[in-house]
């Protein structure tokens, strides 16, 4: 029995030990998985005047969506206004990456240099502190150059409502060295719509847009302007004096009249159309220096800037006659698009093919730069430890004013002998990019198929075929509508229908009479012949044939202006038919033939009557 408490004690100890272990492990895991935050503090401008404001951005990023708000230190020299926050959340491989940027407007009250530090966030009982930044506030107007102050004045010394200022950061660059051109539109009056810019001509420069900034506010000559800024990277392509042309901005501004005599109904100032003005910058001249001849390396191809060169093989071990790609990566600041391919010397142990090249351009700190990658394929001809020697790339560093050469490290490849290897064996190899892609550095190849090679065709829209095809449905519709109307009239108007078919019906009867034109059937013949004329008259006039007496026929025909001679002939013919039907013995064949001819003639004459 003495063993029981020991056992309980053991179980209890084990229980607590396990619990402790689990909690410790959980704590460790949670410590490992709790997201690390980073606080990045930036200022849009590091130096401002007392008239200006600066934007302070505090970005908090980390692997959580539950982002805390930062707390700012006391900054007694500034009035601080929140400008809102923006959030960016992304999910990559199931991991949440979030970043929240809080913006604050800092309005200075006194000149001086102010460090802004200890901006922090507290998250899960931990404090994360951001980097320090320094904001320099200079006295009123000190940040504005005298030249800019002069530009802001018109010829009589009044402050301009708007003007366009062009400036370059370097008036004496080397050829191919970046010159940053800044266009600033200063506008102190209300404007409508978006200003339309005609870019300055930059003949003699290779141009790349760096970006547009603004509108922000700046005070010049004690007047607050809204400023829109646009920057370009210009790379001179020729030496000597090069001119940057004038830029023009067309913008609709509030006219002076409108400004002085405001329409009382124009409560928002938007009813007035304003006045369209053209604002032109001044042209600028840059004196471009040629690159020094002294110290120019033999492999220099005209690249200006500051670059590094790195070579990376895709593998270090390869079989004989099998390709291995080496990426030559040139990275740096300068006109990356003009970077030439590094020269690879003749290598007796390799066959070398150019495979592809691509570039990515970056615009950091208003400097154009980036990365250019050249892929070269090396095919070793023999087994062994073969070396791709160092490849060099020379450029001119304009800051230092001298040429520099970047070199790769030699690359040693372990080339394996393959089964059946024979020296000097040449295996045909086609480069992987023989069909050049859209972003390649060459045009696409010519076409083998001549296509529909033929004589020039005229404009389809005026071709007879096209016009006929389009006219046909219109005609078809017209015909269909007419036919339908006729059908409807025939079915709805009995008189019209009888009139339309009168001629056909009478002709049918006459044809039957012609078949009966013999002496033996004279009775039927005269009956049909008489009926043919009677049915024609009754159908045309929409009356019943049964009530048609000679007098009635005469009246009807005379009413429709029929020739009296025709009326008499018809009546005589009808009498002859009646007589012949009741005295058939007296009828000869010639009487029948004559009657048939008369009937046909009368029918023709009747058809000419306008019923």
């Amino acid at each position: 029995m003495t063993g029981r408490p020991d056992m309980r004690h053991f179980v209890r100890t084990a229980y607590f030990a396990s619990l402790l272990a689990i909690l410790t492990a959980a704590g460790m895991v949670s410590a490992q998985t709790s997201p690390q935050l980073e606080v990045v503090v930036t200022l849009t401008q590091e130096t401002i005047s007392l008239d200006e404001q600066a934007i302070l951005e505090v970005e908090v990023k980390g692997s959580t969506q539950d982002m805390p708000s930062p707390s700012l230190p006391t900054l007694p020299m500034f009035e601080i206004y929140s400008q809102g926050r923006s959030t960016n959340i992304s999910y990559v491989n199931g991991v949440v990456e979030a970043s929240v940027t809080n913006r604050y407007l800092l309005v200075p009250s006194k000149a001086g240099t102010y460090p802004i530090e200890n901006i922090s966030v507290v998250y899960q009982n931990r404090r994360y502190v951001g980097n320090s930044v320094t904001l320099t506030v200079v006295s009123r107007g000190a940040s504005v150059s005298p030249q800019l102050e002069r530009r802001a004045l018109d010829t009589v010394g009044n402050s301009k409502d708007y003007f366009l200022e062009a400036s370059v950061d370097n008036r004496n660059p080397y050829v191919s060295q970046q010159v940053t051109l800044t266009l600033k539109l200063f506008i102190a009056v209300q404007y409508y719509g978006s200003p339309e810019l005609v870019e300055p001509t930059t003949t003699g420069f290779w141009t790349e847009l760096l970006g547009t900034r603004g509108p922000y506010q700046q005070r010049v000559n004690d007047r607050t302007y809204r400023v829109i800024e646009r920057k370009y990277a210009l790379f001179p392509t020729a030496t000597g004096e090069q001119t940057i042309g004038r830029a023009t901005i067309t913008v609709t501004v509030q006219s002076r009249q409108q400004n002085q005599r405001r329409d009382p109904f124009d409560i928002f100032g938007m009813l007035g159309a304003g006045e369209e003005v053209q604002i032109r910058s001044q042209s600028l001249t840059v004196n471009v220096k040629s690159l020094p001849v002294e110290g120019r390396p033999g492999d220099f191809s005209g690249t200006v800037g500051r670059f590094t060169l790195k070579a990376t093989p895709t593998k270090r071990e390869v079989e004989v006659n099998q390709p291995v790609s080496v990426n030559f990566l040139i990275n740096g600041v300068g006109n990356i698009k003009s970077v030439a391919e590094p020269v690879i010397p003749d290598l007796p142990d390799f066959r070398v093919y150019k495979a592809s090249s691509n570039e990515s351009v970056s615009k950091l700190d208003e400097r154009l730069g980036g990365t250019r990658t050249f892929e070269e394929v090396f095919i070793p001809k023999r087994p062994g430890q073969l070396v791709v020697p160092a490849v060099s790339f020379s450029y001119f560093d304009p800051e230092a004013g001298q040429y520099r050469t970047a070199r790769t490290e030699p690359i040693t490849l372990n080339v394996i002998r393959t089964e059946g290897y024979a020296a000097a064996q040449e295996v045909p190899y086609s480069a992987p990019d023989s069909k050049i892609s859209a972003d390649a550095r060459d045009i696409r190849y010519i076409k083998e198929d001549p296509g529909d090679l033929g004589h020039r065709e005229g404009l389809l829209l005026t071709s007879p075929l096209y016009l006929m095809v389009n006219a046909a449905p219109v005609l078809a519709l017209m015909v269909a509508v007419l036919l339908r109307r006729r059908r409807e009239k025939l079915s709805g108007d009995i008189g019209y229908a009888r009139s339309r078919r009168a001629s056909r019906e009478a002709r049918r009867r006459l044809a039957r009479a012609a078949q009966l034109a013999t002496v033996s059937t004279s009775e039927q013949f005269f009956g049909e012949s008489g009926q043919a004329l009677l049915s024609f008259i009754s159908d045309k006039l929409n009356v019943s044939p049964h009530g048609l007496t000679s007098d009635r026929i005469q009246d009807l025909l005379v009413d429709h202006s029929a020739d009296p001679k025709l009326v008499q002939d018809i009546l005589a013919f009808l009498d002859r038919c009646s007589f012949a039907r009741y005295a058939p013995a007296s009828v000869s064949q010639s009487d029948i033939d004559q009657a048939l001819a008369d009937a046909e003639q009368l029918m023709m004459r009747l058809e000419e009557v306008r019923f």
Binding site: L197, V198, R444, G451, L453, V474, A480
Partner: protein, 250 residues
Amino acid sequence: MLKRVIAGFVIALASYGNLCATPSGQFTQANRFYEQRAYDSAVFVYRQLVSEGMESAPLYFNLGNAYFRSGDLGQAVLCYLRAKRLDPADPDIKANLEFARQYTSVQMEGVRLNPVSSLFESIVEPYRLSMLAWISSGFFILLFGFLIARFGFAVRGALTRAGIWLTFLLLLSASLLTTVKYDQDFLTRRGVIIAQECVVRTGPSEQADKELDASPGLIVEILAQSGDFYNVLFENKRRGWVRKDLLAVV
């Protein structure tokens, strides 16, 4: 260089007698010159075909390539534009046109576009005018088919009514796109600067002030003409007068 050009022409002329009489034979021969890097000879034979009134998108495309290789950027851009008008959907033509235009020494990028017209232009860009015109005609015939059923044969069902409205809307859309394309291809006259040196002036005279320098390969819209000058509008909306012999109409 001159020797190479003369040799190229001599080869082209000597071979010309042996060429197939058919246009496709001449085309193949020109391609052979191109493959042998005798670009001037290739240009000569391709141009023979064009001067005989022949045209096709591949012909202008290959001629553009031959001009590009022989260093005549203005003519290359002109040929690519002509090829694109015949076959707007061909990605090779588009790629080479864009590629060639990178080489113009003066870049005149458009700065502001009308979003509505840009949208319509981007919709019609891959299609030929004749194709859009035939599509419009198809809807026109279909619409009249429904109208004939409705008014000629009194078919008054909901299907007929829906058919009329649907084909009417389709016809309206297709006609609008056809009009945009027609405007783009025929009403808007485009030209390409082909001269190596081209001064754009403020008026239609050699005595007028210089507005700017243009370079071969720049595409312009021809607004008017006066005497020996065209009034042109560049893509960045700058205007000026250019002597007629310095540009070629697309």
